[in-house]
Symmetry: C2
Subunit: 362 residues, 2 copies
């Protein structure tokens, strides 16, 4: 624990940087002399417009989003994108490629089948999603409207360590659980989407970054709110956006900028993950569940050989101020989600707790 | 102004009760000893579950929602409901009735035409939406899948003063701008929806109350997030809900309960509106724009005979701590939105400011 706050290893919603929360608290009744909370501002007001534009600009700068791409602040989470992507991008070809490397990529594939012919370009299901298929394993359809994958699989603790090469087929990527964790080459993607509640902001905001040329081809019966072209034209304000989440996102982006941007974040995240994986590789009690070459820097999944001991570990850790370490119900074991806002101190505290627990139980 | 805060007459997002903001501020770093902010909580945690269930129960109690009806906490605003309603309810009949009494009811009608044959049961467009059609003016289709109307028209300052009688045809009502402003008989409705950002919570939450039996008949190509049956089955958590907005809603509902519930709120709202309308009826400078029998208790629209004077009024009022009084761009003039959270003191301050302005300009 630090002060009265605990280290929260939840897979999402998850920790926010303490300086962000402190700023939000200070401004809660009266933002910047406006006489009102950000929660009370008209989305058409000059005050909120400055908050909105600032978040857009900071995100564009941090991710180096090229001018060819739009940034949208939407609602409905990644699951809404599972439909919105095919509704907008399936187009005349009417078929798309999906790589299935976990729970959410599989759900995206199932949803997209309502709107076109979807092919499984690769699947790790046969080995319980413990690895990421290599480029040469991808069965690519050169005529597909897009290729969809999920960059980081929170439940299975795996992460794509490369960007798939798909030629002229636009890359569509769910980055909900690793966006802003390191620099990416946005120009290589047709569309990136991410629920905000892991690495960006409170739940209720979805960030979409898309090549402008891909919009404007939605099916005729697409709900107006799910049409990228409508959202681009409306500047993400076709209706009232999730203003508070956008405000917090702006504070998070400022925090990231101040600490040195995504290169520095990559360095920190690499250090945090290495601390846990190095320990797991030496441990006689715990072992990591993902194949080493596919290990996620965001979600570290591990277990003992004993289910009851796993449960005891998660319970005792929570009592020690290290919360939400229980693994997802689909896989059991433990999971430590160490997104951007998890400080090194929290990871050290977890590693030390694991070492003490190991001594007691080996 | 009260303290450093101003009276915010915005049509939405709009004022929240000060005690609600103060509680949110106090708990922002550490909710109820949990060691984390509500913004950081897993939506599957026991802490958040208690917040969620509490908000559901308080809303059910305040609105006396019968057991036949489900309460859903969704995203995407009323505009998403414009599609979600027909996608789910259009059914085999394939046709629905719409009453057009303003901007949003017309948008709902336009969106629904993607999914079925929509009839205009009544329209006030011919008289610039300054009135609400009477029951006997409604052209009802007894075989329609539902009848849709918008209970309060924020832009035009009109409000339905009666609940339409539609026989066996389910009533669907957009209550975004007057929900919780007075008691309603929920059992008479098939479905009620409301964006939260006017009378309930920050932007990013949509409350839907629907008769359970109406769910389960969605079109096959309905996005999973837009299927009421999926959302009912998932308890509004098919994916991560907008947790912070739900938390603030709970605080608002507690505030409403403490002050005496919706009967007391109706009394207060009646008093606030009467104060302004009585003044308008006597004024030699200002006049109300809605027909007296259709006047909204939430949005009081008025103007002078001079556009420049209107602009001057809004500007000087803002400088005096009475903000967002400029009317919607579609109609011009002024609009004072006086939702639940606007205190009588704010309305008195506005009335006094109007009286002073009148003296100077008549």
């Amino acid at each position: 624990m630090f002060g009265e706050r605990i280290y929260n290893f939840s897979a999402g919603p998850s920790m926010l940087p303490l300086p962000v929360l402190e700023q939000a608290q200070e401004s809660l009744l009266n933002w910047n002399g406006s006489g009102m909370s950000v929660m009370e501002m008209s989305h058409r007001s000059s005050s909120f417009d400055s908050i909105f534009q600032d978040a857009q600009e900071k995100l564009r700068a941090l991710l180096r989003v090229p001018d060819t791409h739009e940034i949208l602040f939407l609602q409905g989470g990644a699951t809404t994108q599972f439909a919105m992507v095919p509704l907008n991008l399936m187009g005349e070809a009417g078929r798309a490629d999906y790589a299935l490397t976990g729970n959410f990529s599989t759900k995206a594939y199932e949803e997209a089948q309502k709107y076109g012919a979807c092919s499984v370009a690769a699947s790790s299901a046969g080995e319980n999603h413990t690895y990421i298929p290599a480029q040469e394993e991808l069965q690519l359809d050169g005529g597909a409207s897009y290729f969809h994958y999920c960059a980081n699989n929170t439940i299975y603790g795996t992460e794509w360590q490369y960007v798939p090469e798909t030629g002229a087929v636009p890359l569509v990527c769910d980055m909900s659980s690793n966006i802003l964790s390191r620099p990416i080459d946005v120009g290589r993607y047709g569309l990136i989407y991410a629920g905000a509640q892991k690495n960006m902001a409170p739940a209720g905001l979805t960030v979409v970054i898309l090549r402008r040329a891909l919009a404007g081809h939605a099916r005729k019966d697409t709900p107006v709110m799910l049409d990228y072209a409508v959202q681009i034209k409306g500047g993400s304000m076709y209706n009232t956006p999730p203003c508070w989440c956008i405000y917090i996102l702006g504070l998070v982006l400022q925090w990231l900028t101040d600490l040195g941007g995504l290169e520095e974040m990559e360095r920190r995240n690499g250090e945090k993950a290495a601390l846990l994986y190095d320990y797991l590789d030496e441990s006689r009690l715990f072992h990591g569940t993902a194949r080493p070459e596919a290990r996620s820097r965001m979600n570290v999944t591990f277990r003992t050989a004993d289910k009851d001991l796993d449960a005891q570990f998660a319970k005792e850790a929570a009592a020690a101020g290290l919360s939400n370490l229980k693994g997802h119900r689909l896989v059991g074991g433990m999971r430590a989600s160490i997104y951007n806002a998890m400080p090194m101190e929290g990871v050290l505290a977890l590693r030390d707790f694991m070492a003490r627990f190991e001594k007691e139980h080996i």
